[in-house]
């Protein structure tokens, strides 16, 4: 059986692409963790890890190795099965999100027609995982953390989906690759960041809450709940929770990059005006397109990751009732208004573009 035959097999393709996604997630987890430590150190007048490897590059490896070596403690009174499976359940949504993200023009694992809804759907499991971990630990702090987490994630999921609806309206599709293509047609100003600025801000805040990152890290708030739902975890199970947190962060940033910043769209060296085609003309074709697309995608993702880390080390934590107020009483109405605004503006452009009235430039961004 040749490789091409093997590739035609569904199971083989699923296996290979799944493994690639896993490798991508783990590699970026490593980089993100290192970035977080260095960036927080930079913000806080410290150096951060410096000893293991140049600029502490191997520190994450050392830490993970340490965590893997540790004894896997299962406290006596926990709900044993739930306690043991919780990290793996938490793992599911974080990785599933990557299935629909277009990494490049043709680099999508499963280009679902329902991309955005699929993302929202798999996120539900994060709630369940939190609950399993918190309830299974049989610890009051864990339980409080799990309760907070479940309430928070359920509330913000609504806001998150609502903030993205505007993008779906603009692109006329829920498919992520379609959304990227719709942005690609219009250059930088066609990025949905500009017409959907409200949506982008709401998305950013809501995804922070969904990720349980500071200032919304209520369910593991170390100064209140010790460590929230993973108080009882140690060793590699704790490492998996850490991994999930960061993979989630990468995933949400990747989606934000796709939805608002144009995903893999970006100029390649061949697009440089005069010398581009002559010098870098050979860098075209499907393979090179994918490579450049992937680079742009990574760049945008890391830009957002950088912002997320920056926010974490700047703001204090909000309280649970303030969080709920913010979500339900402010962000949700704002995102609903954004949907309304998008509809009006799109309609306005459609009407005025035919008549050729100069007023249509007001609606140009929403064209």
């Amino acid at each position: 059986m040749s490789l091409a035959d093997l590739w035609a097999q569904h199971w083989f393709r699923a296996f290979v692409t799944g493994s690639l996604v896993l490798v991508f997630a783990l590699g970026n987890f490593y980089i993100t963790l290192w970035l977080e430590r260095k960036e927080s150190a930079w913000i806080q007048n410290r150096l951060g890890p410096m000893r293991a490897g140049p600029q502490g590059l191997l520190q994450v490896l050392a830490d993970l190795f340490k965590l893997l070596q540790k004894e896997d403690i299962v406290p006596r009174n926990v709900d044993r099965i739930l306690f043991l499976i919780a990290p793996f359940v938490a793992h599911i949504p974080a990785l599933l999100i990557f299935l629909v993200v277009p990494f490049g023009p043709n680099l999508v694992v499963a280009d679902y027609d329902i991309g955005i809804i699929m993302i929202a759907a798999v996120t539900s499991y994060a709630v369940i995982a939190t609950f399993i971990a918190g309830w299974g630990s049989n610890n009051k702090y864990s339980l409080l953390g799990a309760m907070r987490g479940a309430a928070q994630m359920i509330s913000y999921e609504v806001t998150l989906v609502m903030s993205v609806i505007g993008v779906a309206m603009m692109a006329g599709s829920l498919k992520l690759s379609d959304i990227v293509l719709a942005q690609a047609e219009r250059g930088v100003l066609g990025w949905y960041l500009f017409p959907q600025f409200i949506g982008f801000i709401v998305y950013l805040i809501a995804s922070l809450a969904e990720l349980n990152r500071a200032p919304f890290d209520l369910m593991e708030a170390e100064s209140e709940l010790v460590a929230g739902y993973h108080t009882e975890y140690s060793g590699f199970r704790f490492a998996i929770f850490l991994l999930v947190e960061y993979v989630h962060m990468i995933a949400w940033s990747a989606i934000a990059a796709t939805l608002f910043l144009g995903g893999w769209v970006g100029p390649t060296p061949a697009d440089i005006p005069v010398i581009g085609p002559r010098l870098f003309g050979w860098m075209t074709g499907p393979v090179w397109d994918n490579i450049w697309g992937f680079c742009w995608f990574l760049f945008k993702t890391y830009l957002l990751i950088f912002i997320v880390i920056w926010i974490r080390w700047t703001f204090p934590r909000v309280r649970i009732d303030q969080l709920m107020d913010l979500g339900w009483k402010f962000l949700l109405p704002v995102s609903l208004f954004n949907i309304f605004l998008t509809g009006v503006m799109k309609y306005g452009w459609n009407v005025l573009a035919e008549s050729g009235s100069p007023l249509r430039w007001l609606f140009w961004l929403w064209r």
Binding site: H10, W11, D79, L82, Y112, D113, I114, I117, M118, A120, A121, V122, T123, S124, Y125, V127, I128, F131, I132, W135, L143, M147, A150, A151, I154, E157, L174
Partner: protein
């Protein structure tokens, strides 16, 4: 091909086993989690039936919203400590009687379905190569042919929301 049978078989087994565990799990929290698993595998079957949209909604609404809601109710009312008491004889009898009932109902139901299938006018062969139903089509139908039911459904949801809030809000005296 057998892949379809295999995947269906696995999903069906998971569905049925977890549904069975919902009935028999001793802790109500476990029952809720088994229920989530059951919903998930049903959504897998929806995927097999090429209904991505419904599969995603199944996960979103059932495994996400309803399970969480039930879990919250369990937590808030501290029912989690109530276990199924082992009422020795009556319980066993009830299980047997009701298990029989379940089988009977299931069989009658399946038989009825088959009957409907045979007497009805629908084509007996599955449509050979169906075009995939897109979200766009569903949405278009929903907002044209089913506008009134759609609005009624949203009013229902609104009423449910208001009702739940009124019922659970603490009375401020």
């Amino acid at each position: 091909m057998t892949a379809q049978y295999l995947s269906f078989g696995v999903l069906a087994l998971v569905t049925l086993w977890s549904a069975y565990k919902v009935v028999t799990a001793r802790l109500i929290t476990h029952a809720a989690l088994w229920m989530a698993l059951s919903f998930t595998s049903v959504s897998g079957i929806f995927l097999m039936l090429q209904q991505e949209f419904i599969a995603a909604l199944q996960v979103l609404i059932y495994a996400g919203a309803i399970t969480t809601m039930i879990i919250f109710a369990i937590m808030l009312s501290s029912i989690r400590e109530i276990r199924v008491e082992p009422q020795q004889q009556t319980f066993g009898q009830r299980i047997r009687a009701s298990g029989l009932l379940a089988v009977v109902v299931g069989l009658v139901f399946a038989a009825f379905m088959t009957y409907v299938y045979y007497v009805s006018e629908i084509p007996k062969e599955a449509v050979p190569d169906p075009g995939l139903l897109t979200v766009r089509q569903v949405g278009a139908t929903l907002f044209t042919r089913f506008t009134v039911p759609f609005e009624v459904a949203s009013i229902l949801l609104l009423l449910a929301m208001i009702g739940a809030i009124i019922l659970t809000a603490k009375e401020t005296e």
